[in-house]
Amino acid sequence: MTTPPAARPPEIHKEPSMLLQKNMLADYFTRVSKAREEGKKIAYTFVPGNLTELLHAFDVVPVYPEINALQNGMRKRSAKFILDAEKIGHSEDVCTYVKADLGMLLNGNVGPTGEIIPEPDILLLSYTGCFTFMKWFEILKQHYPKAEVVMLQVPYQGEGTPTPAMREYIVRQLRESVIPAFERISGHRFEEDRLREQLRRSAEAEEGLVFALQSARRRPSPIDAYFGGVYYIGPMFTAFRGTPECVDYYDTLREEIQNRIDAHAGPITPEGPMAEEKYRLIVEGPPNWTHFREFWKLFYDEGAVVVASTYTKVGGLYDQGFRHNPDDPLGTLADYCMGCYTNLNLPTRVELIEKYIRDFEADGFLINSIKSCNSFSSGQLLILRELERRTGKPGGFFESDLVDPRYFSAANIKNRLESYLQMLDQRRSQAVA
């Protein structure tokens, strides 16, 4: 019989970069809430295919409904929002990011930090693979009739490779509709040099992010590339890309990870440094936010480290070589938009994960199938079978949701994860025998 460990104070370990990010976010939400007073314009936009550098070049403040939704999920505010959205007629099957966002709107648009998020002046819809994006802003437009909607049509990567014509198509839209719209809304003329400056800093920060992501190739991995990874992508995927703060953040992160590498240490979990790396896993699919810490704990308690994930690529595949290029400002934005994970077809996704399994020497891979996200979830079982066939590594399958707590069953997920890890053990010992 084991005795339960002595109760420990629920002190939550955070890396310096996490604390830094927390402050950055708090400042950001304050900036958003004060934007009107300061005479700034506000654009709502999506993470995949976001044109943050361009927005900053116009001094427009970006707001990301997806980020609000996930932040509200982590802060346990989303359940009520979702119910409120369902009350006005949005069905149970609608993406819960959308419903969490609408629910927040119905409740006075008080953001995750308790500050009001002002109405948008413009809804910038970069369409990168997920159909829901369109419907979402269509609904928002009904609520904000004064906001202008600009759509950037990003060709889906159905064939797997972008063509020059596609690139040209996006650049033309940027030039002919997106930029003029922002000039009109913001009252500023487009200054290409301001954009270049932003993009230069983006590229610098991107090096830092890639350093972090690639560090997981080591044994032990100094990071968890999923549960930790979602923090590491935070500044890059949202309102900070292209800013000096963002560069600073990635410098801090780099240093922190380097220290762990030097010390041969594993990732930092909310309960302190992770003990032993027993399993190296790849994860496909977004995490659950309402039980994020509980979900993570299921992994680190078992010694499972995620060494690469696809969710951390929704805002760009930097690890595959893409960098924003200040010498070709509009072309680089086009490349960026086309390459976001949500815009990739199934074969490309399979190839990417296969590459991760090999490059990061993973023991296996897991798919977290998100009930409300059709964009990610459709085809995941095909991905699973195909990856098993190609790599011989076993795949595991979970089901949960982004921000709807009703779809997170800890017991069920724990059971599946345990079963999966025990299956890995079995197969390992079989291989040795």
Binding site: G395, R427, Q430
Partner: protein, 439 residues
Amino acid sequence: MGYTLGIDLGSTTTKAILLDANDRIVGRGLTNTRSNYEVATAVAESEAKINAHFTFLKEAVDSSPKLSSQAAPLLNNLENRFHLVQHLHRVNRLRRQCLFEAAADRLLPHQPRLTTVLNALFDQIHERAERSFSTADVDRSRFFRDIVGSEYMALAEEQSRESSIALDLLMGLYDKSILVEENQVLDLSFVEAIQQAVEAAGESETLTRVQQKALREVVEEAASQTLEVDNMVGTGYGRQRLPFRKDQIRSEILCHGLGAHYFFPGTRTVLDIGGQDTKAIQVDSQGIVTSFQMNDRCAAGCGRYLGYIADELNLGLHQLGPLALQAKRPVRITSTCTVFAGAELRERLSMGDAREDILDGLHRAIILRAMSLLARSGGITDEFTFTGGVAKNPAAVRALTRLVEENYGTMKINIHPDSIFTGAVGAALYARHTQGGIA
């Protein structure tokens, strides 16, 4: 080398399996004790040990030249008597508990009458048991609660009519007492019970003096065998809540895979439909899991669903399948949602559909859901083994057989009579082989 024990803590029953050093099943234990997993484990384990003693006894009788000619009826009789002894022991315990509850302060005004009524009632239960256990084929799979519960209820109705004691009061006493009774281990050893059984058998059987002596000897020998458990592994729904060491806990997915392989070594795909979850498992030629799928947080389409339906129709769970087999014009049911099941059922009944036709549709709906899980886990590969409580239901089996044939062609479909023990068998195998470091 001693024995290994596998425990499967399910959501409705707890199963125990004892394997000997050659991985042969020597004992099976099954209990519906629910409120406390530790007690459930202890009860299932003691049942498995008793069952093991019977296994030894059977072997001894079979190989005894004096007894082997009458082995089958003799053993059957002995086992019935043994269970009667156990049963009566529990009836007495229940009686005491009821009398104890009846002595509560608030019942004091009724107490003298209550005591009389309860005693009369239990005397009858006692008598009936003596009669019903002496028939040749007693259904030993029925739980104490099921047997006593219906008898008590019928007798309580009678008594309340005659004695003017409210039925509610009598039933209340029972409900409280049965919980207490169910949640304790039987304080009657195998030796004590078997000796009483032998006495009784000796009196009634047409055994010669020599045979009686031989019987006493083999019983003594079987009873004296110690059941040293070297290692144990727990699995199942409740495994997390047990004070087992981590290396003594295995996921039920792994255990079901290995257990199915044990019963049918040709197994490649396993479907398990239990009370609260459904699992589709693929295994390799060694019984090692290569892939699996299970239902998500929603228990739709699991055994529990049939439980609700049975309650809704005022039927026993075991009556559903046979009834569904009589369907003439099967109804298509789409929903496997446990919450909607009752409503859909009532609606269908009010529309004039026959019970058996609706039931056929409900069984099919469950299996359809399982088929989707199977597809997601990688399809069905020959041989296909069906396990879990629902595998005992003939209508579910029929629906499965048809759908498998339609979707995957002809397959060998295995259902083992001990299928309910599949997880426990896997656990016991892990207990043996992890210990030796084979893992």
